[in-house]
């Protein structure tokens, strides 16, 4: 009978090896919400408010103060600076968790300015390959780094928390969690946020 042991060991070892790791979804702290924005379109901005969530595009975003963030591809706007009349702006803080969020510091705010980006699907013909000047927040724009130096391009998530001031001067803490949807298709900005911060 002793000789049967190898026959038994192999299937047992194999079954152990095939057992999957359980996915440990860390406990979400209370008050933290999340959103996923479809940012695939090159030709439009998607508007978001911490009070209302996803919004219809305002007729004139530069004068409208209901929106707090806007998304276009990997670009992000706040409602302030070159983008709008609100008090919006953002700055990165050196932590990846929502625990012990520091006191907001208005002096560190980076407001929106003009950047160059594609507002049309770039194609190989060259005609649509012109980048145009639009207002956006360069600080929040660092949430994702896309390196075209290898094929396929590599995507690196910054993973840190951003302090974001809303249009009406409230504060939120935002951390981007993914650039893909559940089907691993790129062009979806997912983020968690704590709002408002008192």
């Amino acid at each position: 009978m002793k000789n049967l042991i190898p026959f038994l060991i192999v299937p047992i070892v194999c079954s152990l090896l095939f057992a999957c790791d359980k996915n440990d979804d860390g406990q979400t702290p209370p008050g933290i919400q999340s959103a996923t924005i479809d940012v695939r379109a090159y030709d439009q901005w998607i508007y978001f408010s911490f009070e209302q969530g996803l919004m219809d595009s305002p007729t004139d975003p530069t004068t409208n103060t209901n929106w707090d963030l806007a998304f276009h591809r990997w670009d992000v706007r706040t409602n302030g600076g070159a983008s709008g009349l609100g008090k919006g702006g953002a700055y990165a803080i050196n932590q990846t968790s929502f625990d012990n969020i520091p006191e907001p510091d208005a002096a560190r705010l980076v407001t929106d300015e003009m950047i160059l980006t594609y507002m049309q699907t770039p194609d190989m013909s060259g005609e649509n390959n012109q980048r145009v000047e639009v207002p956006a927040n360069t600080e929040l724009g660092q949430w994702l780094t896309v390196s075209m130096s290898s094929i396929p391009p590599t995507y690196t998530l910054a993973n840190n928390v951003f302090m974001v001031r809303t249009a009406d001067g409230q504060w939120a803490a935002v951390r981007f969690t993914n650039y893909m949807n559940d089907r691993a298709e790129k062009g979806y900005a997912s983020f968690s946020y704590l709002y408002p911060i008192h």
Partner: protein, 727 residues
């Protein structure tokens, strides 16, 4: 016969028997006694060694005994001593081990021929050689034995093959002479499908082999011959583990009876995903002397991990001396994932199942008919982990019925003739909602005519009818001359590559940026291959030198339309490669064997007088093994390496209309290992891979895929020997 002796020994176990002392002498053919030869009772740990006069004494039971006689540098001797002879003095003669040129190969002619008589140089990688180097995958085996072959990461595709400067489209990989359906990407077959523990030998034939094997056999054919049962009962298990967590577990069970045989085998392999990072940014050297490092951030590539298994069954039945049938089938699943965020969301799932039915009819000794049907179904899926969904995005089917006739009825002729159909179906996300297929009907004949003792000539012709482009004729002509230890071969062979289903029918929009479209008017790529070789073979030394020139016409590549929004396939360019190979095998004394190969490839793809090819011109493989004994157990220590030369390649910077040069430095990867055959069918192998800790500076292109030095250990147990309870 061996079955009967097993029965006898089994019966004898049932009755008490007295012990006897087996005794005798071991000598070489000249009668010189061999000191230190090891005699063991098979399947037991019992054994002894011969003394200075070659004599031995070994206590055994009084019944039929199977003996193994081993002496380093001499061929193994396995024999059965009948109970009635057990008291007589025994005499065993061992022969010096030779480099085997009588080995039977099939690839060059589609019929069994001995290595020395095959009209085309065939390189054989034996199961013993594979086992000795403890490879993890087929890719390791091919890289360790074939210079001129490289598996690199190209444009996001892991394990893209290049062979003699040509890509996967031009090297045909076969398993038991049959095509593999499916590709992982860019026409690379799924090398992970092959269970390397199940390989009997690998035959590699360089040069165009399209006459016998059809499309794609342009630069050569790698034919993987799998193993069947060879004993009344055999079973084994094995495991391999390395310091990076790569694991392999396998089993096999086989039986070979008088009429019936069965062999079942399986393997599970695991590898974790990791990320390789550039150690230095890539620098572009422009013609005007400026050096530019375009992206200051270092690149990285995700190297996928996997969990996979293969299960295979083969059955054989011999109805009579003249008629036998066989069936085999296998199932394979490969789940591939990467270490980054994508790996948490999506895995790539590959599945394959295939079946092969064959009947062989031998009406007379000289004539043989083989009717076979091969079916292969390869599918790819996206597995979405969070959604719990699996979605198929690719399916490739092959049906391949064949009738093969071979005859030696005509004096001095060996004739092979075949008729077959190759039906292929492809369903991929790159097609617009339809399945596309092609059917190829083929007739081929190849004759080998021997003129006297020294000369032989081969001629072959293949006629294909392809459903997309119609008729194509493919000829071949070669000659072989033998004089003493020398063999000379020279020949011409046409080759061709039919446009693939993707090249014919793709219709795919790349996220609105551009479109990829196929071209239904494509013609096959054609090639002319000329080669010449000389081989010098002695019992302990064997060297060959072969040169070739390969010209490919009507190469299919992608072009952009005028509007620059659509890329389409067209027969555009010509290409040529040339090179030579040197192969060397030697036995040095009783203990040392050496095998080494060198390949030079001249691949010129000129642009404004500069070469844009990134093929490394020089490459070599070497392996030295030393065999020794510890107690009664044979051990082999081996050092193997592959060495690749640097290459400078030029690329056009279209924005500035300037050429720039990139240098891919030379590198070598070495493996040191030691294996031992312990009593009771236990075999161990431990070693160090990538001994010099080679890590490429730039990992994204044209570099070896390695994490640096790793340690490995493997264990295999022949259960039939382990369980054999002879006292």
């Amino acid at each position: 016969m061996s079955c009967c002796s097993l029965l006898v020994s089994f019966l004898s176990l049932l009755q008490p028997s007295d012990t006897v002392v087996l005794h005798g002498q071991v000598t070489d053919p000249a009668g010189k006694p061999l000191q230190g030869a090891v005699i063991t009772l098979q399947g037991t740990a019992k054994g002894c060694t011969t003394d200075a006069e070659g004599f031995f004494r070994l206590q055994s039971q009084y019944n039929d005994q199977k003996l193994s006689i081993r002496y380093i540098g001499y061929a193994d001797c396995d024999t059965t001593v009948a109970a009635r002879d057990a008291t007589q003095p025994l005499k065993f003669t061992l022969h010096e081990q030779r480099l085997d040129m009588d080995e039977v190969v099939v690839t060059g002619t589609r019929t069994p021929r001995t290595l020395k008589n095959t009209p085309i140089i065939t390189k054989v990688i034996t199961a013993a050689e594979i086992r000795q180097t403890a490879p993890q995958s087929l890719i390791d085996v091919l890289q360790n034995e074939l210079p001129g072959i490289e598996f690199t990461r190209t444009e996001g595709v892991t394990n893209s093959i290049t062979f003699q400067g040509l890509d996967a489209n031009y090297l045909l990989i076969l398993v038991d002479g049959e095509r593999l359906a499916g590709e992982t990407s860019r026409s690379n077959p799924d090398f992970n499908r092959i269970d390397i523990d199940n390989i009997e030998r690998i035959e590699v034939v360089k040069g165009a082999m399209s006459t016998l094997y059809g499309s794609g056999a342009v630069a050569g054919v790698v034919n993987i011959i799998t193993r069947g049962a060879d004993r009344p009962f055999g079973a084994g298990i094995n495991a391999q583990y390395d310091s990076e967590g790569e694991q392999k577990y396998g089993f096999n069970v086989g039986t070979q009876l008088r009429k019936f045989s069965s062999y079942t085998s399986g393997v599970v392999r695991l590898k974790s995903a990791y990320t390789l990072h550039d150690r230095r940014p890539q620098t572009y050297y422009y013609e005007d002397g400026t050096a530019v490092t375009p992206d200051s951030t270092l690149s990285s590539v995700e190297i996928e991990g996997y969990r996979n298994f293969t299960l295979e069954e083969r059955l054989g039945y011999r109805f009579s001396e003249r008629f036998k049938a066989s069936a085999r089938g296998s199932f394979y699943q490969h789940e591939r994932f990467n270490a980054g965020m994508v790996g948490d969301l999506k895995h790539d799932l590959y599945r394959d199942w295939n079946a092969h039915l064959s009947t062989e009819f031998t009406p007379s000794q000289d004539n043989r008919f083989e009717l076979s049907y091969h079916f292969d179904n390869y599918t790819k899926y996206d597995k979405f982990l969070k959604l719990g969904e699996t979605e198929r995005n690719y399916r490739n089917l092959i049906h391949n019925p064949r009738l093969l006739f071979s005859s030696e009825a005509l004096r001095n002729n060996t004739l092979v003739a075949g008729a077959e159909a190759l039906v292929e179906r492809l369903d991929t996300y790159q097609f617009a909602d339809t399945v596309h297929g092609t059917t190829t009907w083929s007739l081929y004949v190849q004759d080998d005519y021997r003129l006297g003792q020294h000369w032989s000539f081969q001629g072959g012709l293949r006629l294909d009818h392809h459903s997309a482009y119609g008729l194509h004729l493919n000829p071949k002509l070669s000659a072989m001359a033998k004089a003493g230890s020398w063999t000379f071969r020279a020949g011409y062979a046409a080759g061709f590559r039919a446009p693939t289903l993707k090249e014919l029918y793709t219709s795919w929009d790349h996220q609105g940026m551009f479109e990829l479209v196929g071209n239904r008017n494509l013609r096959p790529e054609k090639s002319h291959h000329i080669s010449a070789s000389t081989e010098y073979a002695r019992p302990s030394f064997n060297v060959s030198l072969s040169g070739y020139y390969n010209k490919i016409y009507d190469k299919i590549s992608m072009l952009w339309n005028m509007a620059n929004d659509t890329s389409y396939y067209a027969n555009t360019s010509n290409a040529s490669t040339a090179g030579f190979d040197i192969d060397l095998r030697a036995r040095i004394g009783r203990h040392v064997t050496l095998r080494s190969s060198y390949a030079y490839v001249r691949d010129r793809q000129m642009l404004r007088g500069r070469n844009t090819s990134s093929t490394r011109p020089h490459s070599a493989t070497i392996r030295i093994e030393y065999t020794f004994r510890i107690a009664c157990c044979p051990f082999t220590a081996g050092l193997g390496g592959r060495i690749l030369s640097k290459v400078d390649t030029y690329t056009l910077d279209t924005e500035n209309d300037l050429l720039y040069r990139i240098r891919y430095p030379a590198y070598s990867i070495w493996k040191l290992n030691c294996s031992g055959q312990l009593p009771r069918g236990i075999r161990i192998n431990v070693g160090i891979d990538n001994l010099l800790n080679y890590k490429p500076d730039n990992v994204t292109y044209n570099a070896g895929i390695t994490r640096g030095t790793t340690f490995f250990a493997s264990l295999s147990i022949a259960l039939d020997e382990l369980c054999n309870k002879k006292k």
